[in-house]
């Protein structure tokens, strides 16, 4: 089985953006950002594109597929 891992937390802290601010910028709640960073929520393509725009990084760099046993 495959899952999606992301480096949103790393990129966000690198750019000095708070979870609240990122949530505001991409139009979701802070809890969604928390879940996304924990890896327990897989975002829609639209949200992924918005995050990619805000963090100024390509989707492929932020989100990568990973095999889970």
């Amino acid at each position: 089985m495959e899952t999606l891992v992301n480096i949103v937390k790393e990129l966000r802290t690198e750019k000095g953006i708070s979870q609240n601010r990122l949530a505001e910028l991409v139009g979701v709640t802070r809890q969604t950002i928390i879940s996304l960073e924990k890896g327990s929520y897989i975002p829609s393509l639209l949200l992924a594109m918005r995050i990619s725009e805000v963090l100024n990084t390509s989707i492929e760099t932020i989100f990568t597929r990973e095999k889970v046993k």
């Binding site: 709640t29 809890q31 829609s44």
Partner: protein, 153 residues
């Protein structure tokens, strides 16, 4: 999450008051050839008070806790994740309601049969109201529990 818990508590209270108001609408009922007379019990008044006050309290809470306009009604959501959670929770509640309704129908039939077979006078109306109110409350609580569990994942 606070919004969902608030709605769940409000709805549970509404269902319970509704059940009580339908079960005990009057006290001191006197029946005669012209119909009946009696005093209206406290429960219908409590039900009306809840129906009037709940939306006001909800609006105040929504303003204070910044719930926003987008997610202000039943089964509403603030973003795509909440939408998925709401759908999952509604599915759980649906299963509870459908399974529960079948059980209620069977139970009402069972009570009726027992009433006839044992010669015991059982109010089918009261049994039905109690079972339906229980089902509504269980369905509402299961929706709320599922929502909160999914939200905190």
């Amino acid at each position: 999450m606070k919004r969902i818990i608030f709605q769940c508590v409000g709805n549970t209270l509404l269902f319970t008051l509704m059940g009580l108001a339908f079960l005990f609408p009057f006290t001191d009922i006197i029946q005669d050839e012209y119909g009946f007379s009696g005093t209206v019990a406290i429960f219908p008044f409590l039900l009306i008070a809840h129906i009037i006050l709940y939306p006001i309290v909800y609006k105040i809470a929504a303003k204070k806790l910044h719930w926003g306009r987008k997610a202000n009604s039943e089964l509403s959501y603030a973003d795509e994740r909440e939408k998925a959670i709401t759908a999952e929770s509604a599915k759980t509640a649906y299963k509870v309601f459908v399974g529960g309704l079948l059980t209620v129908v069977a139970a009402v039939g069972g009570f009726r049969f027992f009433s006839l077979a044992a010669g015991v006078d059982i109010s089918i109306y009261a049994v039905t109201v109690v079972l339906l109110v229980l089902l509504l409350n269980v369905g509402m609580v299961s929706y709320c529990v599922k929502w909160c569990r999914e939200y905190n994942r």
